[in-house]
Amino acid sequence: MYKYDYIDQTLVNERVVQFKDQVERRIDGSLPEEEFRPLRLQNGLYHQRHAYMLRVAIPYGLLSSDQLRTLAHIANKYDRGYGHFTTRQNIQFNWIKLEESPAILADLAKVQMHAIQTSGNCIRNITSDAFADVAADEYVDPRPVCELLRQWSTLHPEFAFLPRKFKFAVCGAKEDRTILLCHDVGISLKKNLQGELVADIYAGGGMGRTPILGSLIKENLPWNVLPSYLTALLRVYNRFGRRDNIYKARIKILVKALGPEEFARQVEGEWATIKDGDDNFQQLEWDRVANHFTRPAYKSAQSISTQDLIDGAPANEQVAFARWLERNVKAHQVAGYASVVFSLKPHGSVAPGDATTEQMLAIADLADQYSFGELRVTHEQNLVLADVEQAKLLELWHKAKAQNVVLPNIGLLTDIIACPGGDFCSLANAKSLPIAKAIQERFDDLDYLHDLGEISLNISGCINSCGHHHVGNIGVLGVDKDGKEWYQITLGGEQGNHAAIGKVIGPSFGAEQIPDVMADIIDTFVKHRTADEAFIETYRRLGVTPFKEAAYLNRSKENVVGAGV
C-alpha cells in the first residue's frame, strides 16, 4: 500500500500543529464556537450528544495492521474501548475530549493517518472498492488514482469552503461496489481500446433529502487530466451551487436545476481554459504512487475447490465452515487465494460496524499472519483480509471465531448497514441501533437467513442518510413526528450496476412494529419468490403492492403515522 514520503509526512505533521493551535484558541476563548465549528469539522471533529466524535479517514478503505493497532490504542486510551467503522470507509470514535484531540491526531500521524476533510463543506475522504486489485471482475486497480486524488484534494485552497460537502467515489471493476452513482462525483475507471487508462465521470448523485443518481457528464477522460477537469467541475459548483438553503446546497441540486447537459457544458467551458495547465498529473507522479501498489509476494499455489476445503474440516464443523465459505469468502484474481470478510454484524449484541480494542488488535495480528499485514474496510461496515491462502482458510476461521467476527451473514438480511443514529448523533431524528438489534434478534436463525439469500437492509436515523437507506433493498429511515420516533420503510433500493433509489411504501411505523413489519415483508417475498430468486428480483417482478399490503394489513392506526418526508 501507499507509504508516505517525507512530504506527505510533513504535511500531516504540520496539519496537527495547525489544529492544535486552533483548539488552543477555542479553549482560550479567542475563537468562538461558531467560527471554530467549520475548522473542527474539516478535521473530522463533531460535537455530538454526549461528547465530541472524531472521524478518522481510511483513504479508499486500505489499512495496515499497524494502523489498525493505532486505532485500537486510540479507542482504548481516548475512548471507551471501541470504534465504529462507517459507511464511507472512515472510523469514528464517539467519546472524545476536545483537549485530547490534538494528541490523537499526533498518534495518527505517526502511522500515516489523519482526519483531514472527513467532514465539513470540502472534498471528503475518497472511497473506493474494498476488493481493489483482488476482485476477479476488475478492469483497473483504482488505488493509484485514489491516492493521487487524495493528495490533490488534501487542503485544496480554492475548495475549502464549498456550498456543501463533496464526496468522490472511484471504481474500476465490472460490478460497482462503491455506490458510485450516489456520490457528488463518481469516477469510473477503465482501459480504452488503445489500452490507456481513462475515466467516465458521473456528477450530481447523492442521497440525503433528495436522493438522485449521478449523470454521466464526461466519457473517456484521460487519467492524467483529472486534476484540471475536477478543478473545472468544482469551480462551477463553488461559484454557482446554492448557499441560501443547506438542503439545496449539494451539487445534485445544481446539476438537476441546470440539467446534466448544461452542467457538463459549463464544466467543459471552464476546463477548456485549464486543460493543458500544469495541474495535470505527470507520468513520473503516477510511477511514484503506483509503485506502492505492487502485488504482495503470492506463493504459487493451486486453486482448491470449495468441496475440498469443506472436506478438510472436521466432520462436526463442516456445515458451519461451508456456510462461512459461501457467505464470507470471496473469489480472488490469484489461484490458491481468497478474500475473507470479517462480519462486524453479530446478531443483536453490538452496533453494526463496531469493533473493540481487543478485536482490532487480534484482527491486526491475523492480517499479519494471513494477509500480508493489510486490511480493507468496506462501506458495508465490515473488514476484509484480501489476500488469504485458501489452504489456510480453516485455520483462520478457527482463530477469527474467538473474536466473534465469523458470523456467516455477509450480504444477508442481518448484515445491516446503519448509522450511529440518535444514540450518539445530534443530527438524528431517531435511533437506528436498537432497530438493527431488534431485527437481528428477530431473524437470528442462520438456516432461514441463508434460505432468504441476498437482501440488503439499510437504516438511517435521519434524512442525512448516513446509513444509505435509499439504496437498501429494504430501507429504514427514522423520522420525528410530534417528539416521537417513527420509521419509514422504502423498498427496491439497490447498489451496484443496477443502482436504484428505494420507494417509500407509505406511512411510518412505531419502533416496536418494525421487526413484525420486516417479517411481513419477508414472508411476502418467501410466498411469491420463484426458485432461487433474490429479494430484489421478486420485488422488481411484482412491484411494491403485495409488500405494501402485507406491511399495513392488521396494523392499527395508532401504530402508523403519515410522517411524509
Binding site: D5, V17, E35, L155, P157, F159, D279, E285, R288
Partner: protein
C-alpha cells in the same frame, strides 16, 4: 462612520507573492453603495476608494468616459479600484475587467461570511484567466483561518476583521512548508522534488 462604508480596517495584512507577510497601514476605503448614481458623495478627493463592481458596471463605466468627471480624475490619480461581491460573475464581464486592468491599482473580493468560499474562485480566476498582476484584497468577514486558503488562491492582501489578532495572523503562513497541489503561489512539493532529482 457612513453606513455605506464597509468596516474600514486601520491596517491590512500584505503578503506579496514572493515576499514576506507584514501588517501595513490601510490606504483603501471600501465604499458599499451600488445604487448611488453620483460618485463618492462624502469621500474626500484624495481618499483611495474601492467601489462595488456592480456600481462600476451601472454608473462608473459611463462616468469614466467623461474626462471632466471626478471619476476620470481619480483614475488619473490611481485612487479608484473595485471590489467584487461573492456573487459577481467575473467571467461574464471579461471586457470590463480587461479594461480595468489598465485603470485599477487594486481590486477586492468580498467574504459576506467567512465560510462562503466563492471569492477563492474569484481570486483564482482573476489570476489564471485575466492574469491580474496587481493586488487582490480579501475584504468582509476575513478571519485568521482563511488566510492560508486565500493566499494560495490568489489574494495578496487581507483586510482582517477588526477583532482578529494580527500576530496570530502573521504566523499562519509559516504553518505549512509543503503542499500537494498547485496553487497561485506554489507548485506541488512532490513533483518539484521529483523534477529536482531528475536534474
Amino acid at each position: 462612520m457612513n453606513q455605506n462604508m464597509m468596516q474600514n480596517s486601520k491596517n491590512v495584512l500584505l503578503y506579496p507573492k514572493s515576499g514576506k507577510p507584514s501588517i501595513i497601514a490601510n490606504a483603501w476605503l471600501i465604499w458599499n453603495d451600488s445604487d448611488n448614481e453620483k460618485a463618492f458623495p462624502e469621500i474626500e478627493r484624495e481618499q483611495k476608494v474601492l467601489a462595488p463592481f456592480q456600481w462600476w458596471l451601472s454608473h462608473g463605466q459611463a462616468q469614466a468616459k467623461d474626462p471632466n468627471s471626478e471619476l476620470a480624475k481619480r483614475i488619473q490619480d490611481q485612487t479608484i479600484g473595485v471590489w467584487f461581491a461573492a456573487d459577481d460573475d467575473v467571467l461574464k464581464h471579461a471586457e470590463v475587467i480587461e479594461l480595468g486592468k489598465l485603470i485599477w491599482p487594486i481590486v477586492g473580493a468580498d467574504f459576506p461570511i467567512f465560510r462562503d468560499g466563492r471569492s477563492f474562485s474569484t481570486a483564482a480566476l482573476l489570476r489564471e484567466r485575466f492574469h491580474w498582476a496587481g493586488e487582490i484584497r480579501a475584504i468582509g468577514d476575513v478571519l485568521i483561518d482563511q488566510l492560508i486558503q486565500g493566499a494560495r488562491s490568489g489574494f495578496d492582501s487581507f483586510a482582517l476583521r477588526a477583532d482578529q489578532n494580527r500576530d496570530v495572523a502573521l504566523k499562519q503562513f509559516d504553518l505549512f512548508t509543503v503542499t500537494t497541489q498547485n496553487s497561485w503561489r506554489d507548485r506541488r512539493s512532490q513533483l518539484d522534488s521529483q523534477l529536482e532529482q531528475i536534474k
